[in-house]
């Protein structure tokens, strides 16, 4: 048996580009952090008062709650609509997949400002519990906005499993459609569903145009308001919202790492 070659150290050019990328990424964060630590009264460093101001601000929690609940609603509605639809398309009408993929691109192509004007006109005259509430109109718009992210994530998930065989195996063992979907299919596209969900979460937590034009007071609207009226606390708020997004991505990473461990065992199976 030949000698195992020691792992080569990283090439200097790779280190250079990695450092450059890191600086590009971290310098704005670092400057924002330094900015957020300045006193709102004196403009001098360093105080955590801006973070205290944000955390003790009722509007922060209120708008954060609205956006977070909107994100959860968007995720729930999207998964309820798209999981069975994409499952059915993969199973029964695979020819429709490209059509769905084209439809999913529309929210990318149509600018949010055009979309919101169209939606506002279209839904004008609908009951106020829908039109006047973020849980109705805004959630509906966000489901459309999240469609491409949800679709392409779920589609990749369904393509990574043998939908036909798993469905037929489940049915031959006596399972109904619902049992097959919840016990067999969903657990095996969990990562894809989570990826789509976190993308939807990130979109909703940061969406400004639609909420602003439709006159709903969400977290991004609050960030913008603070940004316009309070200099240093705006930096603290930016970093906190950045942290929330990263916490969501970290959760996804943890789930992914679990599956990665399984995959490494697979290569060892004889």
């Amino acid at each position: 048996m030949g000698k195992v070659k020691p792992r080569r150290s990283m090439a200097p050019s790779a280190v250079f580009w990695l450092l450059l990328g890191g600086l590009y990424f971290f310098i704005p964060l670092l400057t924002t952090l330094l900015f957020s630590l300045k006193s709102n009264q004196t403009g001098k460093c360093c105080t955590a008062a801006n973070y205290g101001w944000v955390i003790h601000n009722g509007e922060f929690w209120h708008t954060l709650k609205i956006s977070f609940l909107l994100a959860l609603e968007t995720i729930a509605v999207s998964l309820t609509i798209f999981v069975p639809t994409i499952y059915w398309v993969h199973l029964k009408v695979p020819k429709l997949r490209p059509v769905l993929a084209s439809l999913a691109l529309i929210p990318f192509v149509v600018p949010p400002i055009v979309m919101v004007v169209g939606l506002l006109k279209f839904y004008k005259g609908t009951p106020s519990w829908f039109y006047g509430q973020p849980w109705g109109f805004l959630a509906g718009a966000y489901v459309i906005l999240a469609f491409p992210y949800m679709f392409f994530s779920l589609d990749a998930g369904f393509r990574s499993i043998d939908v036909h065989t798993l469905t037929e195996a489940s049915q031959s063992l006596g399972a109904r459609w619902t049992t097959t979907l919840f016990k067999v299919i969903l657990p095996n596209i969990r990562s894809a569903a989570l990826a789509g969900s976190f993308l939807a979460l990130a979109i909703v937590m940061g969406e400004y145009t639609i909420a602003n034009l439709a006159a709903f007071h969400t977290f991004p609207i609050f960030i913008q308001y603070v940004n316009e009226t309070q200099g240093f606390p705006a930096g603290a708020l930016t970093l906190l919202s950045f942290g929330i997004t990263w916490a969501a991505m970290g959760s996804l990473l943890l789930v992914g790492r679990k599956r990665g461990t399984r995959a490494s065992v697979l290569t060892g199976a004889g």
Partner: protein, 370 residues
């Protein structure tokens, strides 16, 4: 009375592709039938109709006297093992086996007892906690078999379950499938394109071609008395000699200017065009020595293929295009280029009407498409 009956099953797919053209099968309880044929012959379609994943355009599927043609697959009580690995990746081997029992709301004690029993039966009592990705292909198919058996199916359906496995595991597992089938006495429908596999483990073999059953019968009969040129060609290797009956009383036929005697040609009409089918193992080769014994063709050895205990020789000459299986030791005395005589059997040859209709045997891919 037959336990499983397929009555005049017909299925045509979009584009006018006729996958099944009126197949008829009657299978007794506890019997093992293999549907054998080349790719596209309709064998998997037939199995999927029995499983309920597809519906026939015409015909009926009857089990134990009950018509189940329009019953949903989840209510048919059919255990199925698929060609592709079909274990649920999110469940362990034991959980996979338990799945059907949970659906049937069996008690926890009964479930765990049955799961343990079945995993032992397939030789995987130690692997219940492993996930599918931690099992080899052969182990996965064993678990799939245990899972299909757990629900005590009325019929066990196996759709080329061994085709993705390597040769050694395939032989080992097919013997285990047969052992378990006999032990449990379960009626089994097995789809394969591997004639050796079908002959080795079945009570009956149905050879399918172009959506029809060409011949159905016990393996030995299929091998020794093929009913059609297609079956003769598909099962085993066969020499095919076109001949004309010259004397129906003595069974004499003319082939390439040589007179041969074939018992099976007796009673035919003089001048009939026939196909004489001869298995390679019944052809006897000897070095040519100038004499011209009866019932022999002369030629030259042009190729040798080592097959282990026997070697397959190809002999070509005027009127002779034969293959013969001889012991490997004897093959050493018949090198390529040697002139030989090939003695043909009088009694073991089979005769069929020479049909103008040709046939093609498609290559079976390793992993058949859906």
């Amino acid at each position: 009375m037959a336990y499983l009956e397929l009555q005049n099953l017909q299925r045509e797919f979009a584009g006018g592709v006729r996958a099944l053209d009126g197949i008829e099968v009657q299978l007794g309880q506890g019997e093992f039938l293999s549907l054998l044929g080349p790719s596209g012959c309709g064998k998997t379609t037939a199995l999927r109709l029995v499983a309920g994943f597809d519906r026939p355009d015409e015909g009926r599927i009857v089990i134990d006297g009950k018509d189940i043609t329009n019953v949903a697959p989840s209510k048919r009580d059919m255990g199925m093992v698929f060609q592709a690995y079909s274990l649920f990746p999110n469940m362990t081997a034991a959980q996979n086996v338990e799945f059907g029992l949970k659906i049937r709301r069996k008690g926890k004690g009964e479930r765990s007892g049955r799961v343990g029993e079945l995993l032992e039966l397939v030789g995987l009592g130690h692997a219940g906690d492993r996930y599918p990705h931690q099992l080899s292909g052969g182990m996965q198919q064993r678990v799939a078999l245990a899972r299909a058996l757990a629900i005590e199916p009325r019929v066990l359906l196996l759709d080329e379950p061994l085709s993705a496995l390597d040769a050694k595991v395939r032989v080992q597992l097919r013997e285990e499938i047969r052992r378990i089938q006999l032990e449990l006495g379960i009626t089994t429908l097995y789809v394969t394109h591997d004639q050796e596999e079908a002959l080795a483990i079945s009570d009956h073999v149905a050879v399918m071609y172009r959506g029809r059953i060409e011949q159905i019968g016990p393996p030995a009969e299929m091998y020794s008395r093929p009913a059609t040129p297609f079956v003769a060609e598909f099962i085993g290797t066969m020499n095919r000699l076109e001949a004309t009956v010259s004397d129906p009383t003595s069974g004499t036929v003319e082939h390439g200017g040589v007179t041969l005697t074939v018992d099976a040609a007796r009673g035919r009409t003089k001048g009939d065009r026939i196909l004489v089918l001869i298995r390679p193992e019944t052809v006897e080769l000897a070095p040519e020595n100038g004499s011209n014994p009866a019932n022999t063709l002369s030629g030259e050895v042009i190729a040798q293929t080592f097959l282990g205990p026997v070697t397959r020789l190809k002999v070509v000459g005027p009127g002779a295009d034969l293959i013969a299986d001889v012991s490997t030791a004897k093959a050493a005395t018949l090198p390529i280029g040697m002139k030989v005589t090939a003695a043909l059997p009088v009694t073991d040859a089979r005769v069929l009407e020479l049909s103008d209709e040709g046939f093609e045997i498609a290559e079976e891919p390793g992993q058949a498409g859906r």
